[in-house]
Symmetry: C2
Subunit: 325 residues, 2 copies
């Protein structure tokens, strides 16, 4: 395990700040055109210092891009009431919660409680459903209101576009055709929706969790508008034998102890880590073509982009039906 100083990079390390730049510029410009200053409220109901740091960082980013940000620290037993109040408050445009709160299924209940009209992280079931089924609009057949995408999977798409993994010459919805992607994480928040999103764009995705490896593809029936999942036979397929066949390796393992084995990575692979822990040793740079060590700055851009989209969608609804909220 070599340290930074002794590593001779084969390719390049790309920072999330570089990728986020055009989005933060676009966001700043679009915010300046609005008649209101959009307000994001973050709810912190745990005493995890890391969550508080993340909350403060969100606040600073919001303010630097022209948003109002308010952090509301509440007792976890008061969070439900606080969310209901914020849902109804016209002064609040976006809501996010720093999970985990209870650390069990009650967190999913709280997550679904955030109004779809204010769900900047795109965590509502409606948005996940649309992602899994490749539904891009909220109001068919008019198709004026774009659906919201969960911000971490969306950030990953934008990163893969920036890195040139999406091929712009191919038609929209087919730009990952022929690409193989390994995703180590199958959480409901990121890993599974990410695998589906990439499969819907034409990739073959190997989705790894502690139990098994699943293969996500678009499937043959495009009319179904849904990815196809099969479980791979563990006697035949492993991370060790799949990783070298992949164009892209993405990890999101929330543990400082976990390291993806560099020896499984083929020279020239695109490597991305979305965990806040460092899932690769520095010697990954001797193999990766492009290495993105963290993605937080792109994710927050997508969150604020979602907030602007929610405001757009609301304005469209108001124009169509002035009586609506």
């Amino acid at each position: 395990m070599s340290d930074s100083a002794s590593v001779k990079p084969a390719g390049r390390t790309i920072l999330a700040s570089t990728i986020a730049k055009p989005y933060t510029e676009e966001i700043t410009e679009n915010v300046s055109k609005l008649s209101i200053t959009p307000k994001l409220v973050g709810f912190l109901a745990n005493d995890d210092p890391a969550a508080e740091m993340y909350a403060n960082w969100t606040g600073k980013t919001c303010q630097s891009l022209g948003f109002d940000y308010e952090l509301r620290q509440v007792d976890k037993n008061d969070l439900e009431g606080a969310l209901i109040k914020a849902n109804k408050d016209d002064q609040v445009n976006g809501i996010m919660v720093y999970f985990p709160v209870f650390g069990n299924n009650q967190d999913q209940y709280l997550q679904q409680l955030i109004s779809t009209e204010k769900d900047v992280e795109g965590l509502n079931f409606l948005y996940y459903h649309n992602l899994y089924h490749n539904v891009r609009f909220l109001d068919p057949p008019a198709n004026e209101q774009k659906s919201i995408l969960p911000c971490t999977p969306l950030a990953m798409v934008k990163i893969l576009e920036y890195l040139g993994v999406y091929n712009k010459l191919l038609h929209y919805g087919n730009r990952l055709y022929g690409k193989k992607v390994l995703v180590v994480n199958r959480s409901e928040i990121v890993g599974r929706p990410l695998a589906a999103l990439l499969a819907n764009d034409g990739a073959t995705v190997y989705s790894v969790d502690i139990n098994n490896i699943q293969q996500f593809t678009r499937g043959d029936d495009l009319s179904e508008q849904r990815h196809k999942v099969i479980e791979l036979d563990s006697s035949e397929y492993s991370v060790e034998n799949l990783a070298p066949t992949c164009d892209v390796i993405i990890t999101g393992v929330p543990s400082d102890k976990y390291k993806f084995p560099t020896e499984y990575v083929r020279n020239g692979t695109v490597v991305i880590n979305f965990s806040s822990a460092k899932n690769f040793n520095d010697d990954i740079k001797t193999k990766a073509a492009l290495y993105v060590p963290s993605i937080g700055k792109v994710t927050i851009s997508m969150l604020l982009r979602n907030l602007l989209r929610l405001i757009d969608n609301k304005n469209i609804r108001r124009l169509k039906d002035p009586q609506s909220n």
Copy 2:
């Protein structure tokens, strides 16, 4: 063997004219800035109707982009004298010969006879040597006069750049890092220099001819500035088992009878044919991500770009030494 009508494309067919467009625009603009009208002379010393058609097409393209073009039809036994005369003629900026003439090694002699200062096709040994050794300039250490690249391999590089196979985020000279390319053709004019060029840019290239398969890589010793070639064991490696591992398949087999087997091609492959014969059946479109069926229009753009570069190089030499030619 399906016909066009029944083929449902998986990706897109990209025409050479689309790829050539920015180059023809750049060439037209640069020609208009010159104080002279550059003159290209083509020598036709065979009675092949295809060569004559190609010669006429070259002429039309030249004229449409602002060049003078003169076709000189000579007896093959007079070609040597005619080339020597053209080499000395200050009114002639570029020379090309429509090969084959004798159809044997005498053609190589004639090819080398064209002055390096007028060799628009980049066929001189000097230019091939520079290509194989990754030498980019003619005048180290000043490095003001760029070396000429053979126009078909150069066209292929430009095509791969357009198709997004070269990754612009990687450093110059490393933009094919991690890519695998199959090249079916190992001629001295195109296939072998092409394999070296792509290997020098970081690719692993499988170079196929009728006798064997060779693997071209950059090699470990970058200071050597030269690709590394090994012959692959035919009991282990075949076109059939290598093709599905490749990101790109390039063919240049000058026979109407030859067809690359579509069943060897993995879904999502980039497929390019540089032969004037059609080396793929139409059903390749059911598998290829991007398919470029012919490249002639890009090649002629590179030829005229080389002509402008030869004029630039000459002007630089004149500025440095007014006594020189």
